[in-house]
């Protein structure tokens, strides 16, 4: 795109963009000085994107500027400007995942994405073939999506795996784990709500699990159960009598209210009454603590199974659960009304344990007091008040109530996502993903959104005129592909995404491939391999031609010819042949021909593919044969050389300027005794050529061969005497 700098100014400097003050640009544009070394005035500026973040800026002076007549001044220059990854992204993903880690995720998600797309295409093809039977195929589509979702979820890290093999301190409350990322949290959330049909009826419990894994992510700006517990953990070492500390009891009730039963039981065992020296005095107290611990660990949970280390009793069906729940609640109430409390001497223990029992009985006041974030209150409702909550509408109402009780100060991408999901609003979900988690998540998560949601499916796949006729899905894939293209290590995976974009993907893919650097043969071959996979033969031929011209220009003639040959570019091979003849015409010594060997070998036996270069091949054969003939004086070699000479002179592709040198080289051959090697007809042909040459000599474009001046006459003499002998020999 050519641009004209303003005249005058600071003597030809490129004038930076100035935002209109009235319209109030939100932020001033970043101005980057470029050292181009071209003296003013600058006449023209070209700007184009190269590969990745590289911008090429070409500055030129006026073509015929008088410019004080100094010729050493640079007439123009091309500067490459590398734009770093300026931290204006703002997505919180970038803060916790470094670039290399993000690239690892990007690479790893390619096979899963490609597999899902090919399955989708196969299903669509099958449906098109037989419209009747398409329904049962689609019925288990979500299982494919679930497989895809699990594969990508694994890439994002596994919060359950311990960081390394370590001996765990018995006084550890929160297990040391791999730090969870909000990317993983968002992915799991979408998987829970949109894909996993099998576990749909246990949705509340899954949310509780999700919160247990990712509660630490909510602690960034506000206090959570996780942050309270980790603070207490730090304090724990210095505590003499644990049960006297109010934070101990607060921590216990908080952990219980969000259902971290294993932590509660573990913490209860820190109670002083368990110490051997105090067992005797505090027998009743210890009994109460243990009774609560048993009740906590036998709490019924409406879910199929529990991961190892987690507590509670699983109930797969609702009737089972109701039965167990009523029995358990009865035990809790019985303990609460027990007479043993009066015998318990320790006031704080008594109050603390009672609070725990109230939480288990679903006391809303206690639950509200012991949770901090609205999502924690939300989860505690599922556990103790409304275990049968189903349906998005009910959940959304509950969420609204919790937000009223625990207004959230900072906005977090994850809470926005939860609200978007619960309000059954795919647009909000998509917007939250775009805003907070970057193009990688949006592109890959769209498959989850559409897994079993007809509304989202139509919304994302509908072609929109205001987006240039592409769908929202395609738009986001294109955006992600652009992000991949901007890095020289990830551009190779962009074609996977571009090829899944039906409208504009292929066009952009061709542009991407043609923009790749061609300096390195290996990189060219990698680009060509992508062309082959997507059957872009024209693009690959163009790339080969570009590479050929590059190598030819830089003196690597062999590589240049190789690429032109691969591209079947006859026109350029012919042009190259003309240039080679110029050089060869000047230096046809026998030694220098050795250097041409490699190039000639390249032309191979199939001369047709070499264009005008076929002459060089024949010329080499002639030279070699002549050398043998003159050295060995064997009749057979001489005869073969004569054959080569006639072939060369007959062939129309032999350039005229080589006629005389060829004939001059073979003077000795023509004078060969005893019998002439060339018969009458052949000699006549050679004489005709010589005559043609003499006429051509008068033309202005005739090129001189640096042969001795008597060359022509000596050839003529040799031909004449050969003709004479041939006539005599002729039977």
């Amino acid at each position: 795109m050519p641009g004209m700098p303003t005249d005058g100014g600071g003597g030809g400097a490129i004038v930076p963009f100035r935002g209109e003050p009235d319209q109030g640009t939100p932020s001033p544009p970043a101005v980057r000085p470029i050292r181009h070394g071209v003296a003013p005035p600058i006449f023209r500026v070209y700007i184009s994107w190269s590969s990745g973040n590289l911008l090429q800026v070409a500055c030129f002076r006026p073509p015929n500027s008088e410019g004080r007549g100094r010729s050493e001044e640079v007439a123009g220059s091309v500067v490459e400007v590398n734009f770093g990854c300026g931290g204006s992204g703002g997505a919180e993903v970038e803060e916790e995942i470094d670039e290399a880690e993000m690239r690892r995720i990007e690479y790893g998600s390619v096979p899963a994405f490609a597999l899902l797309q090919s399955r989708k295409n196969a299903l669509a093809d099958a449906a098109a073939m037989s419209r009747m039977s398409s329904v049962p195929d689609y019925a288990d589509w979500w299982q494919y999506v679930l497989e895809y979702s699990k594969a990508i979820g694994n890439l994002l890290g596994n919060p359950d795996s311990p960081l390394a093999f370590m001996i765990e301190d018995p006084k550890t409350i929160l297990k040391v784990r791999e730090k969870p990322t909000s990317l993983k949290a968002a992915w799991e959330l979408l998987e829970i709500f949109y894909v996993d049909k099998q576990l749909q009826s246990w949705l509340p419990e899954r949310l509780v699990d999700w919160l247990a894994d990712f509660d630490s992510l909510l602690s960034g700006t506000e206090s959570t159960v996780y942050s309270k517990l980790s603070n207490f953990q730090k304090k724990l070492i210095n505590l003499q009598i644990i049960e006297d500390d109010p934070d101990y009891w607060n921590g216990l009730s908080s952990a219980l209210s969000v259902g971290w039963l294993d932590i509660v039981v573990n913490m209860l065992r820190f109670h002083g009454s368990y110490q051997l020296d105090q067992m005797d005095n505090r027998e009743t107290e210890n009994g109460l603590v243990e009774a609560v611990a048993v009740l906590v660990s036998t709490m019924p949970r409406l879910r199929p199974n529990l991961p190892t280390g987690k507590l509670g009793q699983c109930c797969k069906t609702r009737p089972d659960f109701v039965k167990a729940w009523e029995k358990w609640r009865g035990q809790v109430t019985k303990l609460e009304c027990s007479a043993f409390w009066i015998q318990c001497g320790h006031q704080k223990t008594r109050d603390g344990l009672k609070t725990l029992l109230h939480i288990m009985m679903g006391n809303i006041k206690e639950l509200t007091a012991s949770t901090f974030h609205w999502l924690e209150l939300f989860a505690s409702h599922f556990l103790y008040i409304r275990p049968f909550t189903v349906g998005f509408e009910g959940m959304h109402h509950l969420a609204q109530k919790c937000i009223q009780l625990k207004p959230s100060s900072g906005t977090n991408g994850l809470t926005g996502l939860v609200i978007g999901v619960l309000s059954e609003n795919p647009e909000v979900v998509l917007a939250e993903c775009t805003k907070n988690f970057g193009p990688w998540l949006v592109t890959h998560a769209m498959e989850l959104l559409t897994a079993d949601n007809d509304y989202a499916d139509t919304m994302l796949h509908e072609e929109r005129p205001n987006l240039g006729g592409i769908s929202i899905e395609e738009l986001h894939r294109l955006v992600y592909a652009q992000v991949l293209c901007s890095h020289s290590l990830t551009w190779q995976i962009a074609p996977t995404y571009l090829s899944s974009c039906l409208n504009q993907g292929l066009g952009l893919l061709e542009i991407l491939l043609l923009k790749q650097p061609i300096q390195d043969n290996r990189l060219v071959l990698k680009t060509l391999e992508i062309c082959r996979l997507y059957e872009l033969d024209d693009v690959s031929r163009n790339i080969m031609k570009i590479a050929g011209i590059y190598h030819w220009k830089h003196g690597r003639k062999g590589a240049g010819v190789y690429w032109f040959q691969q591209a079947h570019d006859k026109v350029r091979l012919d042009r190259i042949a003309q240039q080679l003849f110029e050089r060869i015409g000047k230096s046809v010594t026998d030694d220098s021909f050795k250097q041409w060997e490699g190039l000639l070998e390249l032309l191979g036996p199939d001369i047709g593919s070499a264009g005008g270069l076929e002459f060089l091949h024949r010329y080499r054969d002639f030279k070699r044969s002549l050398q043998q003939a003159l050295a060995g004086r064997s009749g057979e070699a001489a005869r073969q050389t004569a054959d080569f000479l006639i072939q060369l002179m007959r062939n129309p592709s032999t350039p005229q300027r080589f006629w005389l040198p060829l004939l001059h080289d073979s003077v000795e051959l023509l004078n060969c005794k005893p019998s002439p090697l060339i018969n009458v007809a052949e000699t006549t042909l050679l004489l005709n050529k010589l005559q043609e040459l003499s006429l051509a000599k008068l033309r202005p474009d005739f090129s001189n061969n640096h042969l001795p001046s008597h060359a022509l006459s000596s050839v003529r003499l040799a031909l004449a005497s050969n003709l004479a002998r041939a006539i005599l020999e002729d039977p």
């Binding site: 290399a100 071959l525 391999e529």
Partner: protein, 352 residues
């Protein structure tokens, strides 16, 4: 996507172009060592280096040798580790792996201009063959310096992509279009035999990427190159290359891959299927890696044995000379993979 216990990927957080085992005579307490040529484009010219690290911990290199540009060839010998670059320089790191002791031959008009992909060690001397068509022999100058002697200057008429010593006096080179050439230093430093190769997909000539010569049969080269082509060239019958794999080639079973074969090596671990006759005519098993992510063992007239089929290109691999069941490979997606071939896998192969 769980990896089998026999194959492990180690992410390196920068592009890995080449990877080699280091001889374990220089063993460190931390076990077997690897050398990898890494490249980080975000660091510009400072982003290329050779990392040496133990197999047990790929994240923290023991030593790092900075290179002026991206590495194009990497070889180790008992005495040194050598790397050539795309700017035509050669770097030799003595086996003590002290980066201060590294010596370099700078690229330029006096040595190579442009990438040097052919590099091999023949006892005392290194041979380098570049895309500029030059061939050098680099050796010690007697006073601790290295001296490069020009064997041939092709003046760009042909470009070399691979080089391999056969004996102290003979080596083979290969390149774009020029096929394989055999050089004999006793015969005036010239090409004594040449073979344009046998290429698949109907093309007349392809690009040679890698050559290997078995030390026990120095007259046979195995060559890997364009379009999934692998062929063997026996100097005793120089006009009849033996196809091992290729698209649409007669005489081979189904091609093991259709894209560029980046590297070939004779595989001492895989037993030839035909032990009795192998002494006479059959080409020994050859391992290859390719742009479409295949790591496989091919053998004449046999079905190829696929060891890995990755989603990304395998740019380079190396078989541990001390323990040939272990293979390390450089994957396009910024990681290296280590494959351990145990007895179990061999038993499985026998069954199928």
């Amino acid at each position: 996507m769980a990896d089998s216990p026999l194959f492990r990927r180690h992410p390196l957080a920068s592009s890995v172009d080449l990877v080699r085992w280091l001889p374990s005579s220089t063993a460190s307490p931390s076990g077997r060592l690897l050398a990898a040529a890494v490249h980080d484009p975000s660091l510009g010219s400072a982003g290329s280096s050779i990392h040496l690290f133990p197999l047990s911990d790929t994240t923290s290199p023991l030593a790092s040798l900075p290179l002026p540009s991206r590495a194009t060839a990497l070889r180790s010998s008992p005495a040194a580790l050598a790397a050539a670059t795309s700017s035509g320089s050669l770097h030799l790191l003595p086996s003590s792996f002290e980066c201060d002791a590294a010596v370099a031959v700078p690229g330029g008009a006096g040595f190579h201009v442009g990438p040097v992909r052919g590099l091999d060690c023949g006892g005392e001397e290194w041979v380098t063959a570049g895309e500029d068509g030059r061939v050098h022999v680099v050796g010690g100058g007697g006073d601790g310096r290295v001296v490069a002697r020009r064997v041939w200057d092709g003046k760009g008429m042909s470009g070399y992509e691979a080089a391999r010593w056969a004996s102290p006096a003979e080596f083979a080179t290969g390149g774009a279009g020029c096929g394989v050439q055999w050089w004999d230093r006793r015969k005036g430093d010239g090409v004594v035999a040449q073979c344009s190769g046998i290429w698949g997909r109907g093309i007349v000539t392809g690009m040679v990427h890698s050559i290997d010569i078995n030390p026990s049969r120095k007259h046979i080269c195995v060559v890997g190159g364009s379009s999934g082509t692998i062929f063997a060239w026996d100097l005793r019958w120089p006009q009849q290359p033996i196809p091992l794999s290729g698209v649409g080639l007669n005489g081979t079973t189904e091609p093991v891959c259709e894209s560029e074969v980046w590297e070939v090596l004779f595989d001492p671990y895989t037993q030839s299927s035909d032990i009795i006759t192998s002494a006479s005519s059959k080409i020994l098993p050859v391992m290859m890696c390719s742009e479409d992510g295949i790591l496989a063992v091919v053998e004449q007239d046999e079905r190829p044995l696929e060891l890995l089929a990755e989603a990304c290109a395998i740019n380079s691999f190396d078989i541990d000379p001390q323990n040939p069941s272990d293979v390390v490979c450089a994957l396009e997606w910024e990681s290296i993979g280590v494959l351990s071939r145990g007895r179990d896998t061999m038993a499985e192969d026998d069954n199928c």
